[in-house]
């Protein structure tokens, strides 16, 4: 019994955290509720909370007007594809930086991060022209490559900080035991590196899913993901809150659910070396 915690105190903390948690979550909850209202109810004065005629008409409208399955598929392919491609390129790099650091390692790492500062719109025309030259405008492969490049610095950085926390002593102990490089990697390091890789993957899926500049400007139909799908429901004529809410829920629900289910894995590696 190191610290005596009274139940009263615990209840107080519970109430406070739940209150703040709900406050932060509220915009999403409100969007969720609005998506089941009729357009008129959505702007009712005073606002209605739970007691209204729940309707799914907004969702059917949205489904009817746009190709949601295609946008969803594109989002999934682009997010997963760019993340996996990034991981394949980044793991060896981060590994080498973490375990065989040279004089330049830190500089290389910082330079990589600085490439993320490139303002997207500044290089828009060059990129469109390049993509046009290769005939890959509006293709998934283009989006996969571009989003991979945008997020690669973050992937390398995250993996590097994570790998660095793996104690080198273990490696040496394994070597003493006569393990060769292959089994060293397979049996000693991989299990220790997996949580870091997992949370890197998760974070980058989220970043790629939500990227809304390139995905809107470089796609038209066949590679257009959910970010572009949303653009057809923002600010139309007349009342649109309910339909916008439905479209918004459809765009964020997959990633929200994935995030919730994997939040433990996400959190474990999301330290960027912030914790000693």
């Amino acid at each position: 019994m190191a610290r005596a915690i009274t139940t009263r105190k615990k209840i107080m903390w519970t109430a406070l955290s739940w209150g703040i948690g709900l406050l932060i979550f509220f915009p999403i909850l409100w969007t969720f509720l609005t998506s089941f209202k009729s357009e008129a109810t959505a702007i009712a004065d005073p606002p209605v909370w739970f007691l209204f005629d729940w309707t799914t008409v907004n969702y059917t409208d949205v489904l009817e007007r746009s190709n949601y399955p295609l946008a969803l598929t594109n989002s999934i392919i682009i997010a997963l594809g760019s993340t996996l491609l990034g991981i394949i390129i980044a793991v060896p790099a981060a590994w080498a930086m973490a375990f065989v650091p040279g004089k330049r390692t830190k500089d290389v790492l910082l330079w990589m991060l600085s490439t993320k500062m490139l303002p997207a719109v500044g290089v828009l025309y060059p990129l469109v022209l390049i993509a046009k030259y290769f005939g890959i405008l509006d293709s998934r492969i283009l989006m996969v490559v571009i989003l991979m490049l945008i997020n690669l610095p973050i992937i390398v950085w995250m993996l590097y900080t994570y790998f660095r926390e793996i104690p080198v002593d273990i490696l040496e102990a394994a070597r003493m035991d006569g393990a060769n490089l292959k089994s060293e990697i397979l049996y000693v390091l991989t299990p220790m590196a997996l949580p870091g890789i997992a949370s890197t993957i998760l974070l980058n899926i989220i970043l790629a899913w939500n990227e809304a500049f390139w995905t809107i400007l470089l796609t038209t139909v066949s590679a257009a993901p959910l970010t572009k799908f949303i653009a057809s429901f923002s600010a139309p004529e007349g009342l649109f809150y309910a339909k916008l809410s439905a479209a918004s829920m459809m765009a964020i629900a997959p990633i929200l659910i994935m995030g919730w289910f994997s939040q433990k894995q996400l959190v474990r590696g999301l330290t960027f070396g912030a914790v000693k």
């Binding site: 190191a2 615990k10 903390w13 519970t14 406070l16 955290s17 703040i20 948690g21 932060i24 979550f25 915009p27 999403i28 969007t31 005073p46 390129i89 980044a90 060896p92 790099a93 590994w95 080498a96 930086m97 065989v100 830190k106 290389v108 910082l110 991060l113 600085s114 490439t115 500062m117 490139l118 303002p119 719109v121 500044g122 290089v123 828009l124 025309y125 060059p126 990129l127 390049i130 490049l149 690669l152 610095p153 989220i206 939500n210 809304a212 970010t227 949303i230 923002s234 916008l244 918004s248 765009a251 964020i252 990633i255 929200l256 995030g259 939040q263 959190v267 999301l270 070396g273 912030a274």
Partner: protein, 288 residues
């Protein structure tokens, strides 16, 4: 321990990442550099490959340049303040004993998963809107005049939207750091009779400093390129035009690619100065 052999291997392992990023940096950047010295205005069907530094001069001397830099700094600074102060408080709160901690954490991290466009649209229409937004009902319920956030406090409104999205990220990183603080240290302090505030000031905060620098670094990288939130809410009106947005206006609205490219190059240089400055601090902090 690192032999020549393993060093060579390491270089090969790093090579692909360095190579693709170099290509990514150099090819579009070189083209942008090339355009920035050209008079390239597709709508006028004008393309003159060399006009010297004219674009740079007009971009620098334009009345909107300085104000856009100031706006960028205010916006990034404001968001960093909110997310870090809020993140530290939230992290401390989530570390307290409570019922249903897992669920609270789920609620708190949710905004991080929301697309910038979606969150900007939701905030703009369903909260900030004077006629049908929730804040207006709240104001009316309190007997106050409705307040038009997006035109009266435009910068703050955008800061709130972006801070809402990034607060979970800061909280998560800081929470991990808070949890790594050994309870013995804290208890020792408690035994010594140190009051809550000084315990926070002398033990917790120094312990978090490393996490805070990391949050600042990562967020700054993302925040310097904020676009969707401004595009959706104010379209750059009411003094919310950041440097990124100014470049956007030059390229896509004015269709002056040369001028926009010059702006892009200037933005890259400025961003890298900020980055260099930040990384010096962070690098020092991460070295040990």
């Amino acid at each position: 321990m690192a032999t020549e052999h393993s060093k060579a291997a390491a270089r090969i392992m790093i090579a692909p990442a360095v190579f693709v990023l170099l290509v990514w940096m150099l090819v579009p950047l070189c083209m942008t550099l090339y355009f920035s010295f050209a008079d390239y205005r597709p709508l006028r069907a004008t393309f003159e490959p060399w006009i010297g530094f004219d674009n740079y001069v007009s971009f620098f001397t334009s009345s909107s340049f300085i104000s856009s830099v100031v706006t960028t700094l205010q916006m990034v600074g404001g968001i960093l303040c909110i997310t870090i102060v809020g993140g530290v408080l939230l992290a401390l709160l989530l570390d307290q004993p409570m019922f249903g901690q897992g669920i609270v954490r789920i609620l708190v991290i949710a905004p991080f998963f929301v697309m910038p466009t979606v969150s900007a649209l939701v905030w703009k229409n369903m909260f900030f809107n004077v006629d049908n937004g929730l804040f207006s009902y709240l104001y009316a319920a309190l007997g106050l005049q409705p307040y038009d956030f997006l035109s009266q406090a435009p910068l703050l409104s955008i800061i709130v939207i972006v801070a809402w999205q990034w607060l979970p990220f800061a909280t998560l990183i800081l929470l991990t750091a808070v949890q790594s603080l050994s309870s013995e240290q804290l208890e020792a302090a408690e035994m010594d009779g140190a009051p809550g505030l000084s315990r926070f000031w002398y033990i917790i905060l120094p312990h978090l400093s490393r996490a805070i620098t990391v949050v600042i670094l990562i967020q700054t990288i993302f925040l310097l390129s904020i676009f969707a939130e401004i595009f959706v809410t104010t379209n750059g009106a009411f003094g919310t035009r950041t440097l990124t947005y100014l470049v956007y206006q030059r390229v896509l609205e004015s269709q002056n690619i040369g001028l926009g490219s010059a702006g892009g190059i200037i933005a890259v240089i400025l961003a890298n100065i900020v980055a260099l400055f930040l990384m010096r601090i962070v690098g020092k902090n991460l070295d040990n």
